[in-house]
Each structure stands twice: as C-alpha cells, then as structure tokens.
C-alpha cells in the first residue's frame, strides 16, 4: 500500500512552527545546531588579493577532505585592518582566523588580542620555516628595535606565515633579451630601446597613489640604493643620502619613463600595464605575476619573465606576506589551530607550492613541479635579500605621512630628497607625541 503525503498550508505552518521552536530551544540551551555540525568549522577572514587564488582553488578543497568546514570571507584591502581590529578588540567573534598583511602584526600584538600559537602547539623554531617569515609572527619581535613598553616582554608566536609573498621583478623578455635587468639604469636604458622599437609604451610602471601604494613601490628602490628606515632607537634615517638618491630617482627618472598618470596608479593599473603589454618592467607581489602565463588574462603570454629586483648597491625586495592569526575571541579556536597545524605542515605546503603559491616552508620550494615559475625566482629573491617593513604598531601612520610627501614630489616630478626630509620630520614629531623617545 502506498501512502501519499500531501503538502497543505496547515502542514507547512506546523513544520515551520516546530522548527522555530526547536531552533529556539537549542539556541537557548547552548546546544550546537545539528545541521551545521558538518565539519570542523573555521571562519577565515582575508583581503581580496590574487596571491590567495591558489589557496582558495586548491587548498580549501583539500582542507574539506581533512574534515574542515572552511568559510572564506573576503573584503577589500582598505577596510580589513580596521574591521578585524574592531572585531578582535570588541571580542565580537566574527572570525576564527585573520589572514593579515604582515605590517599589521605589531598592532594586533601590542593590543594583545591574538592567541599564543606556540602554546597551541605550533613550533616556531622548526628549521624548515623561511627565517625572515616566521620572525614576522612574533610579538614583540625577536630581533631589531622594540617599541616602548615591550622592551622586556617575551616574544610570543601570535601569527604564522600563510602565503610567502614578496616583491620580484616582472619584465618583458622581448625587450630585455639578455635576461632580467640587473640594475635600475639597465631597466630604464633597455626599456627606452623597447619603446623606440614599438614593443612597449613605457619602460617602467609603478604605483603612485598616496599612502601605502607609493611607499610599497618606492621601498625596493630605496633598499636597492642602500637605504635604512629607522635606527635602533626609532629615529627616522630614511632621509639619508642613499634614501634621498632613491627618492630623486623614483620621482624623477622613473616617473619620466612611466605613464603620465602614474600619480593615480594603484596595483590594478600597474597590473593592467604589464599584462596589457604596455610596460617593460614592474616590481610586484605575486598577485598579478600569477596571471602572466594565462592568455585569458594577459595580451603578452609567453613574453613575461621574472627576476630578482634590480639593484644599485643591493638587490633587496620588500617582503609582504599573508600571515595568519587567531583572535582570542574566535568561536572555533581549537579548529583554527588544528587547521593551521595541518596547513603549515611540509606536506600541505608542498601542495600549496604545486598549486602555484609561494610557500612558507623551505622544503616546499623543492617540489618537482612547482605550480608557477615565479616560485624558484621567489626563492632566489629570498636568498638575495628580502626585508619586512619596520615592526612597529604605528607603521600605518608612518607610511601615510611618508606616502603623502612622496606623492607630492611625484606630482612635481622632482624634490624626492626634500620630500623625505619633510616626512622624516613629521614621522619624528608623530613618534615623539606617542612616546617613542
């Protein structure tokens, strides 16, 4: 005999009421919702960036196989710092894991809002970590100057490197036919030949927008000229002779060889210039570099190669990694730490490397088939030299002050050195008011 179940208005209302009552009862009693207990839930907050594409596409499915229920919440870069800091400070518990930009670690560390991952069982002393990367996860820093109030505090591992990003050179191999240009002078000279030959429109393109973008573009030039940012007492020394020479070169020579609107360029315009075939060379993080071989995303597939950043004195790049921290207010703290342990294991890092991302463990650089030809170049750059930005919770303000002055000099096309003098005074004044000296 067959039963026929008819859907009536009354049955729908009864079922709805029943579910509502059950939900209310379970919530009131603090019991977990049965429907949501599908896996070990981890809510990850990230800012939108191409550097995370391999993680999203290849590693999240692997994590699901391991029983993790990953919720990946993305936001625009410009709003994530304040959003997550407010979340962590208020204890709102909206996230289990933040994928921070590494300069933000000191701010979160000083506010004491992140879990001690060392106590959670993550080994920061593992020799397989890329040294400068794991160093960035400690607050206060293990090396270098410390800000007031943290001089004698024990360094704690509050974050672990997640995706090992750093700046490298992307260049047109039909313009720089002898391989990656070794110096900035070569970038300009060969680039001009490329322009004259009609292969490109500009020898170089960079980010000129005030604040973080322009400072990020200037930084490798600054480092390559031999500049240092602070002394060991937090006095700004970026306006040294080397620093001024780099700034003059940046706002003068580089601007003259870049698009006229470079003052308003950010990473999207910079990426469009190299992928669209207009630029001869750019310094960039991995986000756009990962698109270099995809004909759907570039007009010059096969013509883009990677190299170590050019030098005047040294070939040093800026390191800017994605670094993961677990807020003290995380609703699924244990799951997050378990996920991180799995994620930073040599095996998973090898998978990340095969997926095309720069790993954070040295062994993963040695996989037979790295998913992107940028990966061995990234290792070369790490060995040549890559430095993080100064480890201070006030970096955002310092970067803002410097970025405004650099941007003004870039508009003028001259006066880089004077801009650094002005910015150094402003930075010194600011740090004085917040008690650095």
């Amino acid at each position: 005999m067959m039963h026929s179940s008819r859907l009536t208005r009354r049955s729908v209302i009864k079922a709805g009421l029943g579910m509502a009552l059950a939900t209310t009862a379970l919530t009131t009693l603090g019991l977990p919702m049965p429907a949501k207990a599908a896996g070990k839930k981890v809510i990850i907050g990230a800012f939108a960036d191409g550097g995370l594409t391999p993680f999203k596409e290849k590693i999240i499915p692997l994590a699901k196989e391991q029983g993790f229920d990953i919720q990946f919440l993305e936001d625009e870069y410009g709003v994530t710092l304040e959003k997550w800091f407010a979340d962590a400070q208020s204890g709102a518990g909206q996230y289990d894991l933040y994928l921070l930009d590494d300069p933000w670690v000191p701010q979160f560390g000083a506010a004491n809002v992140l879990e001690d991952l060392g106590a959670g069982g993550i080994d920061g002393s593992d020799k397989d970590w890329i040294g400068p990367m794991i160093d960035m996860g400690y607050w206060p820093p293990q090396k270098g100057p410390r800000v007031k109030g943290f001089e004698n505090a024990k360094p704690t591992l509050i974050c672990v490197p997640f995706v090992g990003d750093l700046q490298t050179l992307t260049y047109r191999n039909d313009v720089f036919t002898g391989g990656a240009p070794k110096t900035w002078d070569e970038v300009i000279a060969k680039g001009k030949e490329g322009v004259a030959a009609g292969k490109i429109k500009y020898p170089v393109v960079f980010r000129g927008v005030s604040g973080n973008p322009i400072v990020t573009s200037w930084y490798p030039v600054f480092l390559s000229f031999g500049g240092s940012f602070f002394d060991d007492k937090w006095n700004p020394i970026f306006n040294s002779a080397e620093g001024k020479a780099s700034a003059d070169f940046f706002v003068g020579t580089m601007k003259q060889n870049a698009p006229s609107g470079v003052v308003e360029f950010d990473s999207d315009q910079e990426g469009a210039a190299i992928l669209g075939g207009e630029a001869g060379a750019i310094i960039q993080y991995s986000g756009n570099a990962l698109k270099a071989d995809d004909p759907a995303q570039t007009k010059v597939a096969g013509k883009l190669d990677f190299g170590v950043v050019p030098k005047q004195e040294k070939a040093i790049a800026q390191m800017g990694i994605f670094i993961a921290g677990v807020p003290k207010s995380a609703p699924n703290k244990a799951n997050s730490i378990e996920f991180l342990k799995w994620y930073v294991s040599a095996e998973t890092q090898a998978k990340l490397s095969e997926a095309g991302s720069i790993p954070v463990k040295r062994s993963a650089f040695g996989v037979a088939k790295p998913g992107n030809r940028l990966i061995p170049i990234a290792l070369q750059q790490l060995d040549a030299g890559a430095l993080p930005r100064p480890r201070t919770p006030d970096w955002a303000k310092v970067e803002e002050l410097l970025g405004i002055e650099l941007n003004k000099a870039l508009q003028a096309g001259s006066g880089g050195g004077a801009a650094l003098d002005t910015a150094a005074k402003q930075v010194k004044d600011y740090l004085t008011t917040v008690g650095y000296y």
Binding site: G78, L81, E82, F85, A86, Q89, Q107, A110, A111, N112, V113, G208, V209, S210, G211, P259, S260, G261, V262, V263, E264, F265, Q269, A272, A273, P393, D394, A396, K397, E400, I404, N407, K408, Q411, T433, V434, G435
Partner: protein, 301 residues
C-alpha cells in the same frame, strides 16, 4: 451599575496610574534614544578626553586632544579642504538647483518625466557614483581620456593633479546632490501663493522683476533650509572620496571625514579622532545657527 472593567479602571486611576501612564508610554522610546543617541554621544565626549594606545585608553588628558588639533597641520589642511569643498559645491548646487526648479515649475509635455530623471543621481548609492566617476576620470582607461584620444589629444589628468582632482570631486558632488536642492526648492516654489504673482503680472512686471521682488524673497526661508541641510550633509562626505581619491593626490581631496576615519581606525588614535569629530560637530552646529540667525535678521529687515 459599574461593570468589572470600569471598576478596575477607577481603582488604577486612584493608584495614580493616570499620572504615570504617559511616562510609561514614553519609556520605550526614551530608552531607545538614550541607548542609541545619548550614550554614544556621551561616550564619544568621554573618549575625546582620553589618550589611547593600541586601541585601549591609557590616560585621561583633559582637553589636550582639542588643543593639539589646532597645531596639527594635517587636521588644519583637511579642515581647509573641507570648507572649500563645502562652500564651492553647495553654492553651485544651490544655484543650479534653483535654476532647475524654476525651469521645472512650468507645465509642458514631458515635464513629469524630466522631473523624475533629474532626481535619479540622488538615489544612486554614493559608492556607485564614485565608481562611475572613477571610470570617467581614470587617466589610463577613463572615458575622458578615450574621448580626448579619439579627438587626437592625449590622456586627461584628473585624479593625478591636485587642482583637477579637487574640481573633479566637486563636479561629482554637484552631479549627485543638485537634485536634492532641486527637489526641496521645487516643492517650495509650488507652495508659494499665486496671488502676488498674478498681481505683479497685471502691473506689468517682467520675469526678472518678479524673480527679484517676489520669488527670491519668498523662497529665502526654503533656500536657507536647503543650504543648511546640504551644508551639514556635505561636511560628512566620505564614501565618494574614499572610493575616488582616498584623499589624494597628496592631501588635495582629504576631507575631514577621511582624516578622522584614518585617525580613528587606521592609526588607532581613538581619543584624538573623537576630539576631532566633536570639534567638527560644533563647527557645523555653529554654521547652522549662524545661517539661521542671519536668515532671521534678513527677514526682519
């Protein structure tokens, strides 16, 4: 004979409920106002007298944050940029809005459609407006550059040049908010009495005389209200600048709202930012009161 309900009612009245009832009925609304308006305001005032480090209050500093503002070159610059922006954009919006309202007062075929079309910019989300203008202004792939290149010119520099970026921001604001002025002023014009205008026409007054002696004086209160409202609103302009220029190039378009936001959330100087916003609130209030007083004085004379 009294019913049970009536008896209960009289007993309650005797207990003073009739006196307490209005307050009891006001209580929920009052609680909401206290919770969402008074407490945050008080908390903001308290925060403005404290110094914060790493997101937490560390010391009471009295009025030091307020004093420090006036020696902060960045604050003074952003205040000056904001005043210029508000003065220029609100003036243009008032003139254009008035002109459009006068034009749309006439009844002709298609006027309803025109009135509807004119208020469209106002109903678009500010962030979307900013993105649209970015697509127009961008020097590499913007519409203006494309037009210029099609006519044999070069790239058009709007966002990379301080003066052009500022003017570009004013143009955006005028495009978006002239409709609000238009709407308020049109409503005002439509509510004016007909008799004085008919009398003026009978007396042979021309359009300019009617405007100068009747329309403008009669519209002055409405115009003042519209300008005050728009001024207060323009002081808080944020989304458009955040998306379009982020305050650049340099500090050319850094309005006080952007500087305050950065100070509070990016640089974590909560107390200083609170002092900044309280100061700006007072400046806006002072402007509004001045405008109203000026209006009363003009009306009285």
């Amino acid at each position: 004979m009294r019913t049970g309900t009536q008896a209960r009612k009289y007993r309650l009245q005797g207990a003073g409920l009739d006196l307490a009832l209005p307050y009891l009925m006001l209580a929920p609304g009052l609680m909401v106002v206290l919770g969402v308006l008074v407490y945050p305001l008080w908390d903001g005032l308290r925060a403005s007298t404290r110094a914060y480090r790493y997101g937490s209050p560390v010391a009471d500093v009295g009025f030091q944050n307020y004093v420090q503002l006036w020696s902060d070159a960045q604050f003074l610059n952003s205040l000056w940029v904001t005043v210029k922006f508000v003065a220029l954009s609100v003036s243009i919006e008032a003139v254009l809005g008035f002109a459009l309202a006068l034009f749309c007062l006439h009844e002709f075929r298609g006027i309803r459609l025109l009135r509807t079309v004119l208020i469209i910019p106002m109903v678009i989300t500010p962030v979307v407006v900013a993105i649209l203008f970015r697509l127009i202004y961008a020097s590499d792939a913007g519409m203006l550059t494309a037009l210029s290149e099609a006519m044999g010119g070069g790239g058009v520099q709007i966002l990379g040049n301080p003066l052009n970026a500022f003017i570009g921001l004013v143009v955006l604001d005028v495009w978006e908010w002239t409709p609000l002025m238009f709407l308020i002023l049109l409503a005002g014009l439509q509510s004016l009495p007909h008799e004085p205008f008919e009398a003026a026409r009978v007396d042979g007054a021309g359009p300019w005389r009617v405007f100068a002696d009747l329309t403008f004086p009669m519209m002055r209160p409405v115009l003042a209200v519209a300008i005050v409202l728009r001024t207060i609103d323009a002081f808080g302009t944020f989304d458009q600048v955040f998306v379009l220029t982020r305050g650049g190039p340099g500090e050319a378009t850094r309005l006080i709202s952007i500087y305050g936001y950065d100070t509070a959330f990016k640089f974590q100087q909560t107390g200083y930012a609170a002092a900044l916003f309280v100061t700006i609130g007072l400046v806006v209030l002072a402007l509004a009161f001045s405008a109203i007083r000026l209006l009363r004085r003009v009306d009285a004379s």
